[in-house]
Each structure stands twice: as structure tokens, then as C-alpha cells.
Amino acid sequence: MRTRRVALFVTCLVDLMRPRIGFAAIRALEAAGCEVVVPEGQTCCGQPALNSGDRDHAVALAQQTIAALEPYEAVVVPSGSCAGTIRCHYPELFEHDAAWLPRAQAVAGRTFEIMAWLDEVCGWKPEGVRVDAKATYHDSCSGLRELGIKAQPRRLLKNVEGLSFAPLAGEETCCGFGGTFCVKYPAISNAIVGEKADAIDATGADLLLAGDLGCLMNMAGKLNRKGSKVRAYHAIELIAGMGDGPAIGEEG
């Protein structure tokens, strides 16, 4: 099989808050036979500006990101919302820009959420990975509704030996993160994530898994504040065989 050369778009949140997710992504991609490059010019995809109405900054960051990513045959992102920004919103941003629209569309068409890439494009599944635990899964909204990420993580996780699943009531209900929403309207966000944390606790699972670090930090931060014992990981960490390391909030 031909080696696929892919660019990893790390995302600013993973870069800053949990580098392990970036390394897990590289490990899983290499196991799936990809050659991974981390393009130098990347920072933030511009999603916070885009969702706050700051169109000028969103456009500037989108142009920078497109320029950094367009040399590669595929771009893989360990986040449904950042992948969704590039895939769905970049072409909208440049709708009336004849010079940038084709470039935006080209990068958008080659950008994949990591679990969709591994499962659907590579047809890969983890082998020899073991985590003895009961997990529950939260479907992050952007990945679910913009990219249709639903079955892919579950198919991949099914191949992690020793891992059992407890269904999460309201698994498709927003956790209340919403990017800047959680700091602009903290009291409403708290009410939403409070219910989510209760639902997670009620599953009796050991682990909370999801595909977006923002949502995971919101849920894990609330679980920790309420004294829950549930530990949170990005699903790719388990898939890459890094589920034996520190969970979110256990590092350092």
C-alpha cells in the first residue's frame, strides 16, 4: 500500500493544553501507515474569531492556515470542531473571494477529523491495544452535525481490548462548552455542563471519551469540581495505545 503523507493540524487547544493528544494522533497515523508532517506555519484555525463575529481576524487566520496546509495531500485534525471550521466554514468565509475560494475549497476537501480519516479513509483499526475499563462516549456537536462523526470512533474503540461501554443518556446533547460561550455566559454554561456531568456519573463508567478537547476540558473540569472519579481522555489517546497515561487533569 502507498504511504500517505499527511499534515497534522494540531489545533491550538491541543498544542497548549494537552500535547499528548497530538502525539497520540501521530502514533495512530503512523500505525495506520501514514507519514506525518507537522507544518510549521500553523497556529489557530480562527474558530474563536469566526464564532464571535470577528470576520476580519477569522479571514486572516483562515488564510494563514490554508497557506500552511495546502501543500499536503491530506490534513488530519484531532478535533471535530476545528476540522469542521476548515471543511465547512472556510469555503463560506471566501464565498465572494475569487482568489481564495478555490484554495479554501481545495484544503477543505482534503481535511479530515482524525477518527474519520483512520476509519473511513485508511480502513485501519487498532491492534494489540488493551485498556481494562468501562467507558462512556460523548458526541461533540460540531463533529457530529458538521462532519457526521458518530460511528467512526465507536468502530475504532471496539477494537481496544478490555474496553467495555456504558451508554451515556443524552450523548448527542451539547455539553455547554460552545467555545467562547462558556466564558461569555458562564452561569448558563455551568447549568448545562452540570447536567452533563450528572449524566456521565450516572453511567457508572470509569472513563469519559470524546473527540474534542474543548468539550472534554469543560466536562472533565466540572466532573473534577464536583468530586467525580470519572477520568477523561480524548478517544485517540486510547486508540493509539496511550490510555495507560495520565488522564486530563492528571498530568505534571
Partner: protein, 465 residues
């Protein structure tokens, strides 16, 4: 006037409100899911519904003229109102000409939008709200908190207490049936004594000139048929080309709103009483109201004119489910309200509404006419940013972030330092207070980041290879 945040805080502090909203919205959500599952190819039906609305909105003038001609041929009078005030004035003038002392009103959100209850009171015309939930609202002197269940913010226990305080011969048994009977006793005589019946319209049928109302209580029929005059106030976007189109929209409306296949009462009214008819009003007036709708079409909100007022978006909205409808402060709450209110009341007063949304996309997923609500909300955010209405702290914060993020070398330096500082702040892996992040840490902890960013660690590893 209170701010959105103050109203939201008050709502969050009200445990009874939470119970009331959850009971009704939870039931609606579950029933809708069952109804949609049982519907053969609901997705194709949504496409068709959206296409019907897009078609009429694109040819609004032609269909409205066709409607007018057919309604007039059936004996109705058609009036055109470009603003809320104008619409109210037309209604009041008709009531005065009819010598009306009291009107029976069948629930209409457009009536709320144009301020009709207030205008009637100012004109000294008595008003009886005949929809059960609107009756509750009238007794409590409140405003609707939901477009389908105006009294959804009240529990049945609260309603029982209200009836006991206000009804002349209230229920004794604490059952829903006894409470409904109490309302029936209270309302019947008032309804039958009204001089004018006022309704909205769920649909205006262009090729027959008929208007359609849907209710589950039959109150529209009892409010509109006995009085001498029937007045309809309807938004101009309610038009559909023909009966089959109306039927398709009805199938979508009922399922999306309550999960029922059809409402208990679906009635088409074509003109006033004709020679030989045993009953019906002597006059029928239809007031077609613009109130900003053609402007919405010109300002990139065309898709919002597809809305058939089913309420599915708010029933499925995580924010609405926490704060209820009153906190939104406009006539229409929830996601559709957050798109409409800035258009109706001005963005300056309502900039919080499009922002107070997680953009999770659930509203768009359940919308029977596929309105891209998150996109429209993002559009308002853009306008608000452009017009300088967003708070300075947010502008500065995002501006600084974007400025640094556009300079990758500086960004690496800055993020490296920030991460190290945060790493030193945390104990046992979690940070419970952080400067400038109070909105987060008031309610949840922040995981302590690793000592170095991914980019720094990755470069170190690459050099080692």
C-alpha cells in the same frame, strides 16, 4: 429594564421553572422523535417543506395578490399593514366600527408580536384569551414563554393555585380534568358573548383565499364562528400556493411541534357567512402584516421566513431548556427568537441573544424547514461585531489572540511562556482559580497543562531523531 444576563440568572435560580420547562419540552422531544421515526422519509419531507417556503418567499408579491383576489371573491376584506402599529390600528378601527365591547382572541404569536393585547386594552376593548395556556397567562398578567405552550413556564400545581385564586367557581379535585373544566366554565360564557373574534393564521391559501388555524382545544372555532366579526392578523410569510401545500406543511408542523400526526382541530375559513349558511361571522377581515419581513428578505434573513412556528428548535435547545422563554425578552424565544428578535426589536437591545448560543446545531437538525439557524445567528454576531456592539474585553481579548496567532514565531514564544506559567500555578493536575478566566473557574477546574507546548516537545523530538 433588566438585562438578558439578569433574567437568565433569575431563571437559573428558579427550580420550579426548571421542572416546568423540562416536563413539557422533554415530552415534546420524546414524542417528536417517535413521530419522525414513524414518518416515511421525513428528510425528503423536510426538503419539500423548505422548497415550498423558499418558492413562496421568492414570489411573495404574486401569491399575496392571488390570495387577496380569492379572499375578496369569497367575501372577506383584505387589509395591508407594513408596521405593527398600523396593524393594531386597523384591528382597533374594525372593532370600533363593529361597536365591539369585547373580543375573543384565539392564540396568535403575530398578535403578540404586534402588541395587539396592549392595543386592545388601550382602546378600552375587553379581551378574553380563549386558548387554555393564553388564559393562564392572562390571569397571571404575564407574557407567553413559548410559541406553542405560552404557559410552559408554569407547573400544573402553580396553575391550580392560580385558577383557585381567580376563577369564579374553581375546581375542587386536584386533577387536570377538573382544572380544564374550571377553565371551560370560566371561558365559555365570555367567549360566546364576544362581539369580535380575533385569530392568527397558520397558513394563508393563495388559490382559495382561505386561512387555516390549528388548535388542540377547539377554542379557535368557538371564538371565531359565533361573533359577528372575524379578524385575522397574519404575517405575509404564512402564504402557501394551494391546499395540498398547506397539508404538507401541516404534517410537518404538528409532528415537529407536539409529535402528533395532526392537531385536534384544523380548520379552514373561506370568507364570512354566505347566504344559506346557518352560522359564521357576517364580516371577515384579514390583516396581512409585514412588520419587517420584507426587510428581512433584503438583509440576508430570507431563510428565516421559512419558519412555521413549530417550536422544535426551542424544545431541543440546551440554553432554552435551562432558562425558559421569558429570559430572552422578546416575543419569540429560543433559537428562532434569537434570529427574529434582533430584526424586530433592534440588534443593540438584543445582541446577547445570538451570542447566548453554543452553536451546537441541534436546532437546525430538528427544524422541519431546514432553517440554518446557527449560520443566521453567526450572521448577527458578525453584524454586532462590525457595529461595535460587542464588549470591549471580548474585542481586545480576541484581537490580541488573533494578532499573536498571525505571527507563528511570536505565538510559539508567547504560548510557551503562558503554558509554563499555568503549569506552575496548578496543583495536583488541576487549577481552580486563574486570572482572567473567572468565568470558567467559578464553576469548573482547568486541567494543568504540560510544562511545554506540543510544538516545543515535537521539535525537541524531531531534533533527537
Amino acid at each position: 429594564m433588566s438585562s438578558f444576563k439578569e433574567r437568565a440568572d433569575a431563571a437559573l435560580a428558579d427550580p420550579i421553572l426548571k421542572i416546568a420547562v423540562e416536563r413539557t419540552a422533554g415530552t415534546a422531544e420524546a414524542k417528536r422523535a417517535v413521530a419522525v421515526d414513524a414518518f416515511p422519509d421525513f428528510e425528503a419531507a423536510r426538503d419539500r417543506a423548505a422548497a415550498i417556503k423558499d418558492h413562496v418567499v421568492a414570489h411573495l408579491g404574486a401569491y399575496l395578490e392571488q390570495f387577496e383576489a380569492n379572499a375578496v371573491a369569497a367575501g372577506a376584506c383584505v387589509h395591508w399593514a407594513s408596521t405593527a402599529d398600523e396593524a393594531c390600528r386597523i384591528v382597533i378601527d374594525i372593532c370600533k366600527a363593529a361597536g365591539a365591547k369585547s373580543v375573543a382572541r384565539s392564540k396568535s404569536m403575530l398578535g403578540e408580536e404586534i402588541g395587539l393585547p396592549h392595543a386592545l386594552a388601550e382602546a378600552g376593548i375587553g379581551r378574553v384569551e380563549t386558548d387554555l395556556a393564553e388564559h393562564i397567562i392572562q390571569l397571571a398578567d404575564e407574557r407567553p414563554s413559548h410559541i406553542i405552550w405560552p404557559a410552559m413556564h408554569k407547573t400544573r400545581e402553580q396553575v391550580s393555585a392560580l385558577f383557585k385564586a381567580k376563577h369564579r367557581s374553581p375546581h375542587e379535585e386536584e386533577t387536570i380534568a377538573a382544572m380544564a373544566e374550571s377553565a371551560r366554565r370560566e371561558l365559555r360564557t365570555q367567549m360566546l358573548g364576544a362581539d369580535v373574534g380575533i385569530s392568527g393564521a397558520n397558513f394563508l391559501i393563495a388559490d382559495t383565499g382561505a386561512i387555516c388555524t390549528v388548535t388542540n382545544e377547539g377554542n379557535a372555532e368557538l371564538s371565531l364562528v359565533p361573533p359577528r366579526v372575524h379578524i385575522v392578523t397574519a404575517g405575509i410569510e404564512k402564504i402557501v400556493p394551494s391546499m395540498p401545500h398547506a397539508i404538507h406543511m401541516l404534517r410537518m408542523l404538528a409532528r415537529s411541534a407536539t409529535g402528533a400526526a395532526l392537531t385536534q382541530y384544523t380548520t379552514f375559513y373561506t370568507g364570512p357567512k354566505r347566504a344559506g349558511d346557518r352560522d359564521g361571522p357576517e364580516e371577515m377581515h384579514i390583516v396581512l402584516v409585514d412588520n419587517g419581513r420584507t426587510k428581512m428578505r433584503a438583509e440576508g434573513l430570507t431563510e428565516m421566513l421559512r419558519c412555521i412556528r413549530c417550536g422544535a428548535c426551542m424544545n431541543h435547545c440546551v440554553v432554552f431548556r435551562q432558562i425558559g422563554g421569558h429570559a430572552y425578552g422578546g416575543t419569540y424565544p429560543g433559537p428562532m427568537g434569537s434570529v427574529l428578535t434582533p430584526a424586530l426589536d433592534g440588534l443593540k437591545q438584543s445582541r446577547d441573544l445570538p451570542n447566548a448560543c453554543t452553536l451546537n446545531g441541534k436546532c437546525q437538525e430538528v427544524c422541519p424547514v431546514r432553517i440554518p439557524l446557527p449560520t443566521l445567528l453567526r450572521g448577527w454576531r458578525e453584524k454586532s461585531w462590525r457595529e461595535g456592539l460587542e464588549p470591549t474585553s471580548m474585542r481586545w481579548g480576541l484581537g490580541l489572540w488573533a494578532w499573536v496567532a498571525r505571527r507563528p514565531a511570536l505565538y510559539r514564544l508567547g504560548t510557551g511562556m503562558a503554558v509554563r506559567a499555568m503549569h506552575m500555578l496548578g496543583r495536583k493536575g488541576w487549577i481552580s482559580t486563574l486570572p482572567l478566566a473567572g468565568g470558567w473557574t467559578r464553576y469548573r477546574d482547568i486541567p494543568r497543562p504540560a510544562a511545554q507546548t506540543f510544538m516545543a516537545q515535537y521539535k525537541k523530538e524531531e531534533r533527537r531523531k
